[in-house]
């Protein structure tokens, strides 16, 4: 008769474990990947035989770990940087609206704009070195040459669409044209050029057509990447929300210009001349 508590009756835990493991029929349909120890185990008993984690249906997923899909992590980081860029614009906008007891002069607005653009420049450069986007897609020479030939006529059409769209908005919403600031612009010509034309062309193209496009391209097709980067570009102009649709259209054109020309020079020039034309219109009216 065995005695309760006798060491002869002690069951070797390891042996019991192995017996329990052998007991389980390893039916492939019950095999799962343990969410804790990542070993392939049978879910027949509902518990991982190695780490004793519960293998409930909710846990019964193959881990889509960040290490398995670094492209997904890169996309989420890209959207995180994009959110921070939007936040700086919002902070600037709210400061302009609520931060001054008197009406803000053009020069003050320009200074704040340059400050925000300085922050944006740092963020974009950080994003470029942090995300280290994949090598750019290479277009054949015929496409590259064609891109340079068609880019500027296309830009003229887009400018026409831009002006027509804003004219329609002003008519529909009965918005008066804001007072002309040509005199102030003349006094601060170089700063205005830097803030409105040069910095946006360089930094926005670096972010949306290099960092964003090349981060998105590995996970989706070329056209989808251009569309998503164009939506991001439009949304980034948060200070003028009514202009977002036409800016998305411009973003699509700049995205294709980037891919077709196999570089950033063409979209940067297009962006520069687009902003210069808009500045010229503001100056001359």
């Amino acid at each position: 008769m065995s005695q309760i508590g006798s060491h002869h009756d002690e069951v070797d835990p390891r042996a019991a474990f192995e017996n329990w493991l052998e007991d389980v029929p390893a039916d492939p349909s019950t095999m799962v990947c343990c969410w804790r120890c990542a070993k392939t185990v049978s879910n027949a008993k509902g518990i991982c035989p190695f780490c004793r984690a519960s293998l409930s249906p909710a846990r019964n997923l193959l881990p889509d770990a960040a290490t398995a899909h670094p492209e997904a992590t890169a996309v989420i980081r890209l959207i995180g940087v994009f959110a921070v860029l939007l936040l700086t614009s919002v902070v600037f906008g709210l400061l302009i609206r609520f931060g001054f007891s008197t009406e803000v002069t053009y020069k003050q607005q320009l200074k704040y704009m340059l400050g925000v653009e300085g922050v944006d420049t740092v963020l974009v450069l950080f994003a470029y070195f942090w995300l280290r986007p994949a090598s750019p897609v290479s277009a054949p020479p015929t496409v590259r040459n064609g891109a340079w030939v068609t880019a500027f006529p296309l830009l003229a059409v887009l400018l026409g669409v831009n002006f027509a769209f804003h004219a329609f908005l002003r008519w529909f919403a009965q918005l008066p044209l804001p007072p002309s600031e040509a005199a102030e612009m003349s006094k601060t010509a170089w700063l205005t050029l830097l803030a409105v034309c040069i910095q946006p062309a360089l930094i926005e193209e670096l972010f949306f057509r290099r960092v964003a496009l090349d981060t998105l391209h590995p996970v989706m097709g070329m056209h989808a990447a251009v569309l998503v980067s164009a939506v991001m570009f439009g949304m980034a102009h948060i200070g003028t929300p009514l202009s977002i649709p036409v800016l998305m259209l411009l973003g699509v054109a700049l995205g294709y210009a980037r891919l077709a020309s196999n570089g950033l020079v063409l979209p940067t020039l297009m962006h520069f001349f687009h902003n210069l034309a808009v500045l010229g219109f503001e100056f001359c009216r």
Binding site: P28, L62, D64, H69, S89, Q174, V219, V231, I238, L242
Partner: protein
């Protein structure tokens, strides 16, 4: 390990790694599909809510006019509310397209949602904090959906490649 088909312990099945991995693969894919279905519901819900709230806003405009809202603002409010109604419709369309193009849809949805959050915050600063918990939940859910969508797409592509090679 035994590869005897009559092995009652079934341990021999563990030797055919292709069988196990393809079962694991299909199990993982069905879990990812379920996650994408949840994301579809989320996008349709967000879109419907956006449309309802802005339609309600538009319906109330005549009352605001009676209370003295400047006429110049009325059309502007119509424009902005109309824009958000279109955005709501876009979310619903994205939800319906999620299985066809999981990766672009989830990424675009997150970008649009983040953009919408900041635009409404700029127009009405109180909107930054109104419903913040729900907004954070939506953002986190969409971020996780992006990972799921990328994994799902990769598995589909590998399965298609394997089918082409006759594996």
């Amino acid at each position: 390990m035994s590869s005897d088909p009559h092995d009652s312990s079934g341990l021999g099945d563990l030797g055919s790694k292709g069988q196990v991995s393809s079962s694991l693969g299909s199990l993982g894919q069905s879990a990812r599909k379920k996650k994408l279905n949840q994301t579809r519901g989320l996008l349709i819900g967000v879109g419907a809510l956006m449309i309802l709230l802005n339609v309600f806003d538009i319906v109330q405009i005549p009352d605001f006019v009676k209370k003295g809202m400047p006429a110049a603002l009325v059309n502007l409010v119509y424009l902005i509310d109309g824009g958000f109604i279109c955005l709501g419709a876009i979310f619903i369309v994205l939800g319906l397209l999620i299985h066809a193009h999981p990766v672009p849809v989830t990424i675009l949805a997150l970008v649009l949602f983040v953009g919408w959050y900041f635009i409404t915050g700029l127009l009405l600063p109180l909107m930054f904090v109104q419903g913040i918990i729900l907004k954070i939940i939506v953002v986190v859910a969409l971020a996780k959906a992006i990972q799921t969508a990328v994994a799902y797409q990769k598995e589909e592509q590998e399965a298609a490649r394997a089918a082409e090679m006759g594996i």
